[in-house]
Amino acid sequence: MAIYTKEEARKIMEKALSFSKADACEVNLNGSESGNIRYARNTVSTAGHRSNQTLVVQSNFGKKSGTATIDEFDDVSLEKVVRRAEELAKLSPENPEFMEPLGPQSYDESITFSEATANITPEYRAKVANSSIEPAAAKDVTAAGFLNDSAGFSAMMNSKGLFAYNKSTSANFTVTMRTNDGTGSGWVTRDYNDISKFDAAEASKIAIDKALMSKEAKAIEPGKYTVILEPAASIGLLGNMFGAFNARTADEGRSFMSKEGGGTKLGEKIVDERIQLWSDPLNSEVPTGTWNGSGQPLKKMKWIENGVVKNLSYSRYWAKKKGVEAVPFPSNGIMAGGDASLEDLIKDTKKGILVTRLWYIRSVDPQTLLYTGLTRDGTFYIENGKLKHPVKNFRFNESPIIMLNNLETLGQQVRINGNLIPYMKVRDFTFTSLSDAV
């Protein structure tokens, strides 16, 4: 069994620390059980199961630190791994940015574990695959999908008295449905902490419908269009924008968050004032652990309020150097939404394009956070409040900053990759060329 209880984990880690002769020692114990099933061409292609446990020991002498790992936890092995970390620490060069381990902290109790997810069986996974394959085959559509689920724990303890423990589960599902004539493609993604919320048939049906609806797409001229972005379409750009919320690169002058003439954009309005972005490990829809790899407590934190940058993340080292409080990088992103459903947003659109997802997103210019990529698996032209016809996929070149300044309407929130993001209607989204890809 790879998942230890809090007390089992504590016992192993206390034993490991008891062998330490270093100035300080920090141990991380992790374990997980994960399973997956992959299918394509309407049949299962691979399936697997993985179980692992690791103890990571970091010892330091002054600013010299060494790390060693082991997957056996008897006393002899524990002593061996601690000695190895100490040997490596003595051999390693000094790291001027080394930070002493934190002392005791208090953490909120997380809500990340679900028995239902932890109890997923190979039979359940096969059933999920079949919930895609059977209805697909009945509609002359081919399914290719992947379900991956895991249950695990992580724990941390150090010689300064810090102890943290968390148990969590997660499941991720994606399926691509392609019409057998090769002219239509649809896709859907779902992710959960608690798998009992998942309806594989319902999700698969959305992808099948999109595949059938996207057959024989028409080409329209690239250019600037009003778009309705499903959360799966905007998350890639938003995630990249979030990556720029880093105080150090901003202070160093090499980030979108750096300001002309020096300083950062902290406190400046960068996007439409309706944009509110925060992180919250205790949000019941997208819960995460309540501490990070440095042992820092994770709390609800505002990042953008009324379009203004409220916080940048500070590593412990950079915070000390700048004389400010450390601000840990968030473990999820939550963006305020509105009441409008996707249908409402479409109904209120005179001319526009509905985008299911964006794909192969790459940075073009970090100065302006310009990214390129393509639409995929369901792109539709909207006219007078109705989906008129499918359109050929586009390449875009756009910055999430420009996108959020061109906001028209925020719709309902949806969980996507562990974040909570609303449907968004945005004007003047820049498509620069057409793609023949289906």
């Binding site: 394509a40 049949t43 970390a85 096969a126 790899g293 073009v364």
Partner: protein, 546 residues
Amino acid sequence: MKRREFVQYAGLGAGALMVPSLMLGNNISAEALLAPGMDVAVKKRLADVALNTAKSLGSSYADARIGRYLNQYVFTREDKVQNVVNTESFGIGIRVITNGTWGFASTNDVSENGIKKATEQAVAIAKANSKIQKVPVKLAPVESYGEVSWKTPIKKNFKDVPVSEKVDLLLSANAAAMKNGANYVNSALFMVNEQKYFASTEGSYIDQDVHRIWPTFGVTCIDRGTGKFKSRQALSAPMGMGYEYMDGLDSEKLDGPAGIKLYRNSYDMVEDAALGAQQAKERLTAKSVEAGKYDLVLEPNHLGLTIHESVGHPLELDRVLGYEANYAGTSFATLDKWESKDFKYGSDIVNLVADKTQVGSLGAVGYDDEGVKTKKWDLVRNGVLKNYQAIRDQVHMIGQNESHGCCYSQSWNDVQFQRMPNVSLEAGKEKYSVADMIKDVEKGIYIAGRGSYSIDQQRYNFQFGGTVFYEIKDGKIVGMLDDVAYQSNTQEFWNSCTKICDESDYRMFGSFFDGKGQPSQVSAVSHGSSTTRFNGVNVINTGRTI
């Protein structure tokens, strides 16, 4: 978020680098990297435990891969060493065909008992999945090679070079960059040794020792007044070589246009870092490109990535058949196009070859990860699509009976599958230099090094940036350009290829962490070419004001 965390840790800046955490393995000392692995006779005995167990449980085929994966990574920034990582990962992966269905299991318990258990698990998975398997697996025949071995022909083993020497080299490169105007510089050195033992019920026992190396850096120059910042990445290539790649031999240097230096089989990191800082600084005031059609002159360290994305990936047979539909995508290069025997992938001078034997390349091995002797084959000849990349269980689907030998797994812990071999563009046959090429261009752009890259899921529409750009006017380089990206369609692009420089300019580009599959696996692959001209390509301006 995981990737970003690692990028921060590596300090190379977003997008510069992706290192999957699973590549790291268990941390060991640099000295421990030198410890000999398990004796080959012991490996044979243990592999036979897997093969015999599988056979006794009714499997029609089995293979076992005992792998010891050793990595050493060094990370620095400016005058600081950020991290030195030495890791070892050791275990066995067992793959079986039972009831006509694949099963796979792996374990780090490389004892007879551990191997038996893992084999039983692989057989159990195969049996469970056989209930929903529609078509039984069919393997192309393969020769029984007996007991053989292969080694990357290295001159200097990275494990014999002290860490201090590597650290000194990176810090010297950083110092050269700072001296030449860089505000920030990060550098890294990745070194990999795969000790792989393969055995199968076909009667092959193959011991291989594979080496790869990748030195890289990123420099950033900042103009505080305007708030502008520009970076320049290294013009090195990851190679299937030993530490001799770091020697910086003059004989392997090429003079590019506008004073740039290019490197073949030996890399001068200090020189490149100094030039990198100068060029990053120059980018701050370089002319912003005027959008429009240009003739592009693409240097091999740039063109390699375009080959990778627009030729390498679309010709992977698993993509063509739909196995990757839910992740990487499918391919425009469908079977009917190949069957027509006259699909013009490119112009008549375009010859693209797949090659798992090329010396110094990342993909070079003696045998692939299912025991097939590696080879070289045509993908595109005289512009016409000739073949795909396929492995033992796929080739029958395209009417062939010999695997192409391009099966690979990133570790003992993951199942092997079809991966891209080195895919390269053959050099031009007549004598023709880069200087000759530039002289012949009226309105064009010379692009060196890799940059931003993006391509659709069927590999039609792509957009590429680069590391440095120079404007060509009436046969001459007239200055540096910035904000350049080109957009094209794969078939249109390769058919606009009008000229290829000769063999003397031929070099390899490489990708150290090419991702594919679910769960995702990485693989390393090289792409060779000489500088090549493409006419009338659409160039966009990527500058924006916010």
